[in-house]
Symmetry: D2
C-alpha cells in the first residue's frame, strides 16, 4: 500500500548501504574513534563553517534531546520549550526522567516567540522567591517544528539574543533539519544555525540514514567527559562506525542537501495537487510535512488505499491528518496519490 505516513518508512540511502559494504571488513576502534566518524565530523564542521565545532553521534531524537539537555543543565534547571515542542509532548517524559522540568511557552504555528521567552526569563529573575522555582536553564526549539514550520533568520537571531542576554544556551532540534534548510521559503542556512545556536543536531534518521543524529556544539561548550554522560544514558555505540559511515556519506558531495531538496520538491508537488483539488490546509507548512483537514468519512475511505498519519480531531466530523514526503519518495507516488484523492 502507498504510504505517506512519515519520513522514516524506508531504509537508508543506497550510497550509505554501499559504503557499509565497502568498509565492512576494515578493522577500526570502537566508540566513535574510527576514521569514518572523524571524516564525517570534518565534513560537518566545514558545512557549518564552524571549524571549532565539537560533534558527537547519537541515535534518535528522544535520546539526543535527553542526553544533550541533561548534560548541559544544572540539577536545578529546566528547559524552556514551545508547548508543542517534541520534548514536551511526544517523548514519553524522557526529559523529566532525567530530572529536569520542561517549561512550556505558548506556541504560534509550533514556534516560540522571543518576547514570550524574554518575559518568562525577566519574570523569573525578578521574582524574589525564584530560588524556590525551577531555573530556566536552556531554550529548546525545533526547526522545522512539529508542524513543519520554520523560524526566519530574524526570529532565530532574536531568540539567540535573548538567550545570550540571560546566559543560557539555545538548543535547536534538527530532526528534519535537511528539509528545513532546503525549503523554498527559508532564509536560514546551516552556518546561520551554527552561529546563532549554542548546540543543535542534524537529524539523520529522517533524512536518509538508518539511524543516527549528529550533535554539534558550536561554542567550545561540549560538556566535560561527554562520552561518559552518553554511556551513562545507554547511548554510546560500540560500533561507532555505524554512525560515522552514514554521516560521512551524507556529507559527501552534498548528498544530505540533495536528498532533502528532493523531499521538498515532492512536498511542493503534493501541496500543489492538494490545493488544486480543494483540500483545506490546517497550517501552511513550507517543508516535507503537509497537514490537511479531512471529513471523517472521506478519511475512512482513503485509509483503505493509502497510509497517512492521524494528527488530531478538529471537530466532530473532521480530522487533521499529515502526509509526509521524504528523501525516498518517488514522484510516481505523488501522482498515484493525486489519482486517489
Amino acid at each position: 500500500m502507498l504510504s505517506f505516513e512519515n519520513d522514516y518508512s524506508e531504509g537508508a540511502h543506497e550510497k550509505i548501504l554501499q559504503r557499509f559494504l565497502e568498509t565492512n571488513f576494515v578493522q577500526v576502534p570502537g566508540y566513535g574513534n574510527d576514521p569514518y566518524s572523524e571524516s564525517a565530523k570534518e565534513k560537518i564542521r566545514a558545512a557549518c563553517q564552524c571549524p571549532q565545532a565539537e560533534i558527537f553521534f547519537l541515535t534518535g531524537g528522544t535520546q539526543t534531546n535527553a542526553v544533550v539537555i541533561d548534560s548541559m543543565l544544572q540539577a536545578y534547571e529546566g528547559v524552556v520549550s514551545a508547548q508543542t515542542g517534541h520534548v514536551n509532548a511526544h517523548e514519553a517524559g524522557a526529559i523529566e526522567y532525567t530530572g529536569h522540568k520542561v517549561m512550556p511557552l505558548p506556541q504560534y504555528d509550533g514556534k516560540m516567540k522571543a518576547e514570550d521567552l524574554e518575559s518568562l526569563l525577566k519574570t523569573f529573575w525578578q521574582d524574589e522567591s525564584h530560588e524556590h522555582m525551577v531555573f530556566p536553564g536552556m531554550v529548546y526549539i525545533s526547526h522545522p517544528t512539529e508542524y513543519g514550520t520554520l523560524y526566519t533568520k530574524q526570529e532565530l537571531t532574536d531568540l539567540s539574543a535573548v538567550c545570550r542576554r540571560y546566559h543560557i544556551p539555545l538548543y535547536l532540534d534538527g530532526a528534519r533539519l535537511g528539509y528545513g534548510l532546503m525549503s523554498r521559503q527559508t532564509d536560514v542556512t546551516l552556518p546561520d544555525i551554527a552561529e546563532l545556536c549554542d548546540v543543535f543536531y542534524i537529524g539523520g534518521t529522517k533524512v536518509g540514514a538508518l539511524c543516527s543524529e549528529a550533535v554539534v556544539f558550536t561554542k567550545n561548550n561540549m560538556p566535560k567527559y561527554f562520552l561518559t554522560h552518553v554511556k551513562q544514558h545507554g547511548a554510546l555505540l560500540a560500533k561507532g562506525r555505524l554512525a560515522g559511515v552514514q554521516f560521512d556519506t551524507l556529507f559527501t558531495d552534498n548528498l544530505y542537501f540533495e536528498i532533502s531538496k528532493h523531499a521538498i520538491d515532492m512536498a511542493e508537488l503534493l501541496k500543489q495537487g492538494l490545493a488544486e483539488k480543494g483540500y483545506p490546509f490546517f497550517i501552511d507548512s513550507p517543508t516535507n510535512q503537509q497537514f490537511i483537514i479531512l471529513e471523517d468519512e472521506k478519511m475512512e475511505t482513503l485509509k483503505e488505499q493509502v497510509r497517512f498519519c492521524f494528527w488530531e480531531k478538529l471537530d466532530d466530523t473532521h480530522t487533521v491528518v499529515r502526509f509526509a514526503t521524504s528523501w525516498a519518495t518517488p514522484e510516481e507516488n505523488i501522482r498515484k496519490l493525486m489519482e486517489l484523492l
Copy 2:
C-alpha cells in the same frame, strides 16, 4: 594493522548488509511494528523453544541492561551482581543513574556462586532492619562472563532455584551469548537459558550485527507498557527494521550459531598456539576471549605490530592482556599472529 582488540572491530555479516539492500525501499511501520521484526521474533521464539517469549530489540549492552533492570525493579530494589559484572564495573554508572544500587557479590572466575546469593538473600530477610536497606530485587549474571568463562547447566539451575525461592527474577546478560553457546566446553543450550532465566538478551553487536540486542522475557513477564519505558530511556528506534532485519537474518539458517562457532574455532586455534609458545594464561577461558600474561617489555614490542586489549596490571613487570576472536576473524590472521608471537 592486525587487530585482536575486541569482537566489534568489523561491520556486520555480509548477509545482513545484503538483506538491507533487498528490503531497503519496502515501506514499513516504525517503532518495531515491521514484518522483519515480527519474523525475527518468531525465529528467536523457535530457537529458544519458548513459544510464549516476549521479545524487544534494543541497542548495546549498557542500554539493554539499564532498561531491563530499571523497568523490572521496584524503586526500593537493587540488582545483585558478581563484583566483576559489567553493570558493576564498566557501564559508567548507568544502572545507578536509573536510581538502583548494584549489590556486589564475590566473583570466582567472573561467576557468582548460588550459595553466596542465597546467603545474601537469607541475611537480608532475616535482618530486622531490612526495610532500611536496599532490597535485592533481581540477579544479574553474564554468560559468557567478562572473563570469557561459562556457567555450567548445574550452576545455572542452582542460581535459578535460589531466585525462585526468593521470588526474584534471574537476568542473563548475553552480550556474547553465541560464543558461549558454541563453546566446546558447555552443556548449556539456548532453551536451557530460556527455561532457567526470567529474562535474558541475545547479543547482536558482538556477534555479527552492526548493533542491536534481543531481549527475551520468558515468563509472560515483560513489564507493562514496555515500549513506553524504552522510549523514556531514549532507546526506541524509529526505524525498528534496523534491528528486525539484522536479527531476522542472524536467526535464518542457523547463521548466528555458525558464525559463533567460527569464532570459537579461531579462539581454539589461538589458544593452542599460545600454549605451544608457552604464554601463561591468566584464566582458562572456553570462549572467544583469551587472557594471557605478558612481560611489559614484550607487550610494548608486540603493540607495534598487533592491536590487543590492555586488561590489568598483574605486577610491576607483567600485564594481563586480552586477545579476542569474532565471527569475522580470518584463519589467516591467527597464523600471522602466531608468527609475530
Copy 3:
C-alpha cells in the same frame, strides 16, 4: 515589625511544646514506631471516619508531594495538576527530580475543572500514539488552593468520579487543610475528603505545628514498603515522636479545628476591614490568605511598617500582595494593621 507575610512565621501551638516537655524522657522506639505516633494515627482515623486509613508522617509540603507522587506512580506516568498547582510552580522541580512530569491543566481561581480533566484523559487514551507520551497517572489538587479558594463538595465529587472512571488516584494537598475545613463558605468535611480522595495530607507546618504533615491513604492503597520509599527520599525521621507528639496534640480535643477556626475568624475580620477601606481584592478567598491589589507607591510605604507577601505584578503601577492570618494571629494585630492601612 507586624507580619502577615505567611502562616509559618511563629513556632508551634503551646500545647505541643508542653507535650514535648512532658514526654521528653520517655524512651520510645524510632522511625515512627512510638506510642505518640500510634495514638495520633488513631485520632486521625476517627476524625476522618475512615477506620482503615493508613497514615504516615512526613515533613513539609514539597517533601510530602514528592514522596507520595513518586511512590504511587509508575515510571511512565505523570501527575495532572492545575497550572497554578504548587507542584507545578513553586517546588523547584522536586516532582520532575523524581522522574515524573507534571501535566498542567487550565486553572480557574486556582482550581481544576472536572471536564478539563476528563477531556485530557479521553484525548490521551483515544490517541493511537499514546504509548509515546506521558501517561496521566494521578490527579493533584490543593485544597485550599494556592489562591486560598476551595472546591465545593460537588466539584470534588465530580473530580473523584472522573478519576475512578479512569482508574487513577485523586490526591489532595492539604498544606492548609484546617483553614479550608473551617472556612465559613465550605460544604466539604474531613470525612468527605477521606471518601472522595484516594490519598491526601493534613498539613501541620502551617496549622500549629513546628513541622510535619500527615499523609492519609484511604483505600488500603499505601505503596508496599512505603517506609523504604520514604527513607530512600531522605524523609524518614529517626525521632518519629517529633511528628507523633505534634499530631497527637493537634487531634486531641479538637485543637486542630479550633485553631484553624481562629485563623478564619481573623481572616474574616481582615477581609471586612480591607473591604471597608476600599482595597480591591484580587480574588475572593474564603480562607486565611487574602489577596489585594495595591498601588506600587502605597505598597512601598506600607512595607516599612508591616511585612506581607509579594504575589505578582498586576500592571506597571499595581501589585498583587498577600496577607495571611494563622492559628497564631492575635486579634490585636488585625486592629493594628487596620490603623496602618
Copy 4:
C-alpha cells in the same frame, strides 16, 4: 523498660525545649532566614575556627548525605566509601536514588585506609578506559564510624592529602560527631575536621536535638543555589527556626560538648562494667556505642528486661549486640543494667 537500644530514644535537651517556648511567638522569616539560624551559624563557625564556613541545616543523616553528595558530584561521578559506610549499607539506596554509585573500599574496624583510597584513584586514572567507568568524585567517611571507632588525626591528614592530590572533596559524616570529639581516646578536634575536610556535618538528632544536622562547607565550596538543591530534594524546612533554635542552643555555653562528654562518661562506665563481668567485646569502641558478643540464650533472657540493638549473627550460637549511651542516659540506668547482666 530500660533501653540502650540507640541514641535517639529520648526527645531533646531541655534547654532546647525551653528555648522553643521563649521564642515561640516571635515572628521570623522562613526557610532559614531567621535570627536563630544566623546566630547558630556564627557560633558553629567560631567553634570550628573557620570564619568563612558556609552552613546549612538539614534533617537526618540519610537526607544530609543524599543532598550533600548529589549536589557536589558531577553526574558521572560516584562517592568512595568504606564498605560498612552508612551510605553504602543502611540508607535504602538513597545515594543511588540520586543517580550516583557508592564505590566501596575495604573497611578496617569501620575505617577506610588512605593507601586503599590512593590505590583506587591511581588505578582509575591509569586505566585507559576510565571514561567507561564511574569517576571517583568524592570521599565519604563517618566519624565516629558505624562501629563507634575513630580516625586519628594522622589518618585524617593522610586521607585529606590523597583527596587534595586528586582534587576531590573529603566529606565527613558526623551523625555522632559530639561523641567522637569527646572520646577519651581521640586527638581530633572540631577545628582539625574543618581544616582537613572539605565538607562535614555536625549531627544534632543523635546528640541532644529532636532533629537537624548542620552541614559545614569549609572551603567556600557550597554548591551554587544550594537552597534550590535542598528544596528539590524535599529537604527545605519552612520553619527554619526549628533547626536554628536547636543548634543555637547546642552551641551556647558549650552545651553540645558537655552533653557529648556525659554520654562518653556513661559509655566508659558501661564498658568497665561489661569488662568486669567478662563479656567479650566484638570491637574496641572509644565512643558511645559498645558492641559485645552474647550467647543466644543469654540474649533471649536479657531481652525481656532491657532493650538493646541486634547487630549481626556471629555464629550459630552467638550474636553481636550493641548498647548505646547518649546525652540523656542517667548514671542510674548503667547501674541497673549492671545488675541485670
